[in-house]
């Protein structure tokens, strides 16, 4: 059903409805944009709507923001960009490989193996901490290495009990996004500080924040890419298999080009998530690798509600994503599969 199919009044009503919705969604953006060009007096002196008509625009807020009076703006912008791009690239790359494996290969994990992992990891940690007297991070590392080794080893023996398949593995991944992020943020902060005591500085570092974002983005990437890969015609890959093309080459040479729209969409979603993420950045950074959401939020808490400067900072946080989405959506056009089959 398209608006074009409507006749007479219906068409005008539909158009009016669409325009109303457009105004509704655009107004906040417009308001932020004009506020960033208002002088402090212009903001507090009652609402004004039209630049050059209601009020005289000024660049004060932008000058203050870009000159660094309002916090390390350039530094924060660069930190957001670097972490956003690298976390999204890594998460999309690793996640799509995992998703491909989950679509094309059958995995069997015994429930008992999972139980062994959990019991040894937790038990080992508690033992190391309270009985053997290791430090928190040390006992954590030992316990996890032991748990991983035992779990892998146990999968070689025939264990009784139910066997989990690919769907269960995917559910396990997605379930990590079901609990409130604050739970993980606290735990991650504690773990990072403990690791810091061992000499691996993770709080307020590029590695630490990127790693956290990759880990937190993976479930979504796997979940999205799994559907894209499942929709690919398997015969194309089978044809390559019969032609003796190695698996990694099938993935990079055939599967990845065929799922380019999906990869770009997933990359975009991950980037938006990392770019806008607030909670982890708040816990895991304090100065050097602070990101834009922290800076924007800080405007209010540090200097009171100076809306002109908050608006300018918010726009800086929004515009790169709009540009990114604009560029990438051109590449996201569908129809790449055309001609593969039938």
């Amino acid at each position: 059903m398209s608006v074009r199919n409507l006749k007479g009044n219906g068409r005008w009503w539909a158009l009016a409805g669409c325009l109303l919705w457009l105004a509704f969604t655009f107004f906040p953006l417009y308001w932020v944009a004009i506020t960033s060009f208002k002088s402090p007096l212009g903001v507090v002196g009652g609402p004004t709507y039209l630049p050059f008509v209601d009020f005289e625009p000024t660049l004060t807020a932008w000058r203050e923001l870009l000159s660094g009076q309002r916090g390390q703006f350039y530094n924060t912008f660069m930190a957001s960009t670097i972490i956003g791009l690298s976390a999204s690239v890594i998460a999309t790359a690793v996640g799509s490989m995992a998703a491909y494996a989950l679509v094309r290969f059958t995995f069997e994990v015994k429930l008992l193996t999972g139980l062994i992992f959990v019991v040894v990891a937790f038990g080992g940690y508690l033992l190391g901490r309270h009985v053997a007297g290791f430090g928190q991070a040390t006992s954590l590392i030992y316990a996890f290495i032991a748990a991983l080794a035992l779990a892998i080893g146990s999968s070689w023996i025939r264990l009784p009990g139910p066997i989990l398949g690919n769907d269960d593995i995917v559910f396990w991944f997605v379930s990590q996004r079901m609990f409130p992020p604050i739970v993980a943020a606290f735990a991650l902060f504690l773990m990072y500080t403990e690791m810091g005591k061992l000499g691996f500085k993770l709080v307020d570092t590029y590695t630490g924040l990127t790693f956290a974002y990759v880990a937190f983005s993976l479930p979504i990437v796997i979940w999205l890419m799994r559907d894209f890969f499942a929709a690919l015609p398997i015969e194309v890959e089978e044809a390559a298999m019969v032609d003796n093309v190695p698996s990694w080459r099938i993935f990079f040479g055939i599967v990845v080009p065929m799922s380019k729209p999906g990869l770009i969409a997933t990359f975009m979603i991950t980037l938006a998530f990392v770019w806008n993420e607030f909670l982890f950045a708040l816990f895991l950074t304090n100065s050097r690798w602070q990101t834009l959401p922290i800076l924007v939020a800080g405007q209010n808490s540090q200097r009171g509600d100076e809306w002109w400067s908050i608006s300018a900072a918010a726009l800086v946080a929004i515009i790169p994503m709009v540009i990114m989405a604009g560029i990438l959506s051109r590449l996201m056009r569908s129809g790449l599969l055309l001609g593969a089959i039938k």
């Binding site: 190695p246 790449l336 593969a340």
Partner: protein, 368 residues
């Protein structure tokens, strides 16, 4: 092109189960070197599974598969030196025709010049020269299937595997491609295993047709043998278009000979030279099979069956009269311009020399 001395394919006691369901009970099949074998049968008969086991895309549950003198049962698909053409073409959509055809060679590290020569050669054989720089999306269905065949040719495989390659093409193109693939076989002299559900395709293309049903081979023979002496009811019904008519009845002793009787209307005496072989079946319930094209006899007197005509199909060279004899559906071929009209009851002659008799209980052909 390199030549392989022997590329015979041998399946020995091969079975395939999906979970607890056995889709292929122990199966034996030998495909000779340079032979064009067509596996044919209704959907779900196991023909595609068998082909995919030869390709290595499905692992045989038990048994042994050999290509030439190599045991390939546990080899991955790429090492079996087969080429496969799929029903839906399975081209690489982001590559041009030339890249599609040459991709396998490129991956195997063949030199650029050699790839170009092979691609050009394949393009010449398949008439694809003008399309080499196009993407598959800019090609018609027939051209796409030719690209898929080109990709298979440059591999120089020991065995070509075709999985219903013509099913997605329209009728006219299908007939053209049928001839092209046959010409290709004559030219390349490579063993071909070809799967189709279309018995006409099977009959017209194959050196030998393997009729499959429920995972078993019902009969494997050259097309004419299948047509003239089907081994059982399934093959008789499956091969031939329009398909064979069947009348259920009983084989009875009659004036020192044998006749087939169904109800009060049908009595078909068995020719003397066939009675010897059929004596043991006297008194048994049997099925008489007669092809529509064997119901039109120019001269002589023959036993007849009554046909209540429901419809007339004038085809040009001859006409089909479709209706029922007793309760069994029956199609008779009559002369073009025959005065028969729907609702007529006519006596249709039966060519006793070419009729078939099957034991009703087992479906096996009698007196072959």
């Amino acid at each position: 092109m390199k030549r392989h001395s022997m590329s015979l394919v041998r399946l020995q006691q091969v079975t395939k189960s999906f979970g607890k369901v056995e889709v292929i009970p122990p199966l034996d099949l030998v495909i000779a070197d340079k032979e064009f074998v067509v596996l044919v049968g209704p959907s779900g008969c196991g023909k595609t599974t068998t082909l995919r086991m030869i390709a290595g895309l499905e692992q045989a549950t038990s048994g042994e598969i050999r290509i030439g003198d190599r045991d390939v049962t546990n080899l991955r698909p790429g090492l079996r030196n087969c080429s496969m053409v799929f029903q839906n073409y399975a081209l690489y959509p982001h590559m041009t025709v030339a890249e599609n055809i040459g991709y396998g060679m490129k991956v195997r590290g063949t030199s650029k010049a050699d790839i170009e020569t092979s691609v050009a050669n394949a393009a010449r054989i398949l008439n694809l020269g003008a399309y080499l720089q196009r993407k598959p999306s800019a090609l018609s269905g027939g051209q796409r299937q030719r690209v898929a065949i080109g990709r298979a040719i440059v591999r120089q495989p020991e065995v070509f595997l075709f999985d219903e390659p013509l099913s997605n093409l329209d009728a006219k193109l299908r007939i053209e491609m049928r001839t092209e693939i046959k010409l290709l076989h004559r030219r390349l002299k490579t063993t071909i295993v070809y799967v189709t559900h279309d018995q006409v395709e099977a009959m017209t293309m194959a050196d030998r047709v393997v009729v499959m049903n429920q995972g078993r081979i019902e009969q494997a023979a050259d097309p004419i043998t299948l047509y003239e002496s089907p081994k059982n009811l399934f093959v008789a019904a499956f091969i031939g278009a329009p398909s064979m008519n069947f009348i259920e009845g009983r084989l009875e002793r009659d004036n020192g000979g044998l006749s087939f009787r169904a109800g009060n209307d049908v009595r078909v005496p068995i020719p003397a030279k066939r009675t010897q072989a059929l004596t043991s079946a006297a008194g048994e319930e049997v099925v008489l099979g007669i092809r529509p094209e064997h119901t039109m006899i120019a001269t002589g007197s023959f036993p007849t069956v009554p046909l209540k005509v429901a419809d007339i199909e004038p085809l040009g060279p001859h006409t089909l009269a479709i209706g029922k004899t007793g309760t069994a559906p029956f199609t008779a071929q009559v002369a073009a311009g025959s005065p028969i009209r729907p609702d007529d009851i006519v006596n249709i002659p039966i060519d006793v020399e070419r009729m078939h008799l099957f034991l009703k209980s087992t479906g096996e052909a009698l007196g072959r």
